[in-house]
């Protein structure tokens, strides 16, 4: 079952194990510059608000109600990362517009390997984008569905689904009892309000899709378990609609969050970026399909568009090194 609590999707499988819980939330973050430079991890600037689509059934598009699930607001060209927390192991599949963000394949049932089309928590703490190369992702950036930029549209030629889709599978009870203990998790959240700036944006189409933005160093870890260790008889899935922030007030009556700072403003303010190391994890290979996606800036040039204004490179002066297994407040300061 899935509950929505404080802007977190809380997955629980008490019928599998009393401790089988996973929390997923979506973090507001900086858009990293879309050039060929690889950046470290940007911070989490707070959860995106999440609402049940059913609570606003009179105002949201009808097909959102058919899908069920939840919705969150993003501005055009705003970025997002997906945060996983909880110590009980889960296999998590994430798709955008029903295109798997790890393999680039269309949404399909069950967990698959060769290539691995899911992520294994808690070893995988987060996902910032599309797995384009081993150890490199292209950041999730929101674009209006129908504008041609989203991964879905580039791969299928259609703007049918948009949003984000998630399905999770718990580890089998016997495997958990035999093999696992709790472990602390790394943290890349900033407390307190980041600098605000207001930008004018163009489109007000309600449906947004996710498109590939700038490049970031991030590994999708190989699953350390066997495929049979996952309990595929139990799963929960959720459709996360992405509403254009300009429509959010019409839909919900609430203001959407403000636009995050640019990477350059953030770095200039001396705020930290993050690098994450797992001594134990090996990374999956990148997806051929996804590596062929054109980044938002590249596609924009072809269309004669400037979809990402303020795309100047940023100086990365402060990088905090995070390591799997360190206690939450135990980080090693590093410089880049």
């Amino acid at each position: 079952m899935i509950e929505l609590k404080d802007y977190n999707l809380c997955f629980r499988f008490p019928e599998v194990h009393e401790q089988a819980e996973l929390r997923i939330n979506f973090q507001r973050t900086l858009r990293i510059p879309d050039n060929d430079k690889e950046y470290p991890l940007p911070p989490g600037l707070g959860n995106f608000p999440l609402e049940h689509v059913d609570d606003y059934s009179e105002r949201v598009p009808e097909r959102w109600i058919e899908h069920g699930g939840v919705m969150l607001p993003m501005y055009q060209s705003e970025a997002l990362w997906v945060n996983f927390s909880g110590f009980y192991p889960f296999a998590v599949k994430v798709a955008t517009g029903k295109i798997n963000a790890v393999t680039g394949e269309s949404w399909k049932k069950g967990l698959n390997r060769g290539p691995q089309d899911y992520m294994a928590t808690p070893r995988q703490p987060w996902l910032d984008g599309y797995c384009v190369e081993k150890g490199v992702i292209r950041q999730f950036v929101a674009m209006p569905l129908g504008s041609g930029y989203s991964a879905e549209e580039q791969i299928t030629g259609e703007a049918e689904h948009g949003g984000l889709q998630i399905v999770v599978y718990p580890l089998k009870r016997e495997v958990f009892e035999r093999r696992y203990r709790t472990a602390p998790s790394a943290s890349r959240f900033l407390t307190g309000e980041a600098i605000m700036c207001v930008k004018s944006v163009r489109s007000a189409a309600p449906d947004m899709g996710l498109a590939p933005g700038g490049k970031m160093r991030q590994e999708i870890y190989d699953d350390p378990n066997h495929l049979e260790d996952w309990d595929q008889r139990h799963s929960s899935r959720c459709f996360v609609h992405i509403a254009n922030s300009l429509m959010w007030k019409d839909f919900t009556g609430n203001n959407p969050p403000t636009v995050p700072p640019t990477a350059r403003q953030y770095s200039k303010a001396g705020l930290p970026w993050f690098d994450y190391y797992s001594d134990n994890g090996t990374a999956v290979e990148g997806s051929d399909i996804l590596s062929k996606l054109k980044s938002v800036v590249k596609l924009g040039k072809e269309k004669g568009d400037v979809p990402l204004p303020e795309n100047e490179p940023a100086e990365i002066n402060k990088v905090v090194k995070l390591r799997e297994g360190l206690k939450k407040h135990q980080v090693r300061e590093g410089s880049f």
């Binding site: 929505l4 049940h52 109600i65 058919e66 699930g69």
Partner: protein, 117 residues
């Protein structure tokens, strides 16, 4: 009859055995009250603080805010507002459910609905 104060002191002292930042002074500082005031609250010499302070205290001590509010004899204002907005509906619901065992109430929790896609 100092449930709130005793609970807070118990919890804070337990935390202080692992982490010295849970002294009366430091907790008071973090939630924005005088240490002498917090001390009095723990000893039951003065009434529990406002809703806002109780919530800050709960977060600092890693406690559920609603549990601490209830001990303080309060109900969170967002719950009050929800009930006031549709009083008959919610009053009826709560009265009907008040004796139901925990596991039965937990099954009523609102799930994220999955549809067709």
């Amino acid at each position: 009859m100092n449930d709130f104060g005793e609970y807070v002191r118990d919890r804070r002292e337990k935390l202080r055995t692992w982490d010295s930042s849970f002294s009366v002074r430091q907790v008071a500082q973090r939630i924005g009250v005088e240490p002498s005031y917090l001390s009095k609250v723990e000893r039951g010499e003065t009434a529990p603080p406002s809703e806002a302070k109780v919530v800050l205290l709960a977060k600092d001590l890693g406690e559920d805010p609603d549990v601490l509010l209830a001990l303080a004899g309060k109900v969170s204002s967002d719950l009050q507002a929800a009930i006031r907005k549709r009083p008959e509906l919610f009053a009826n619901l709560i009265r009907q459910l008040r004796e139901l065992p925990d596991h039965a109430i937990l099954r009523l929790v609102r799930e994220v609905r999955d549809g067709d896609w």
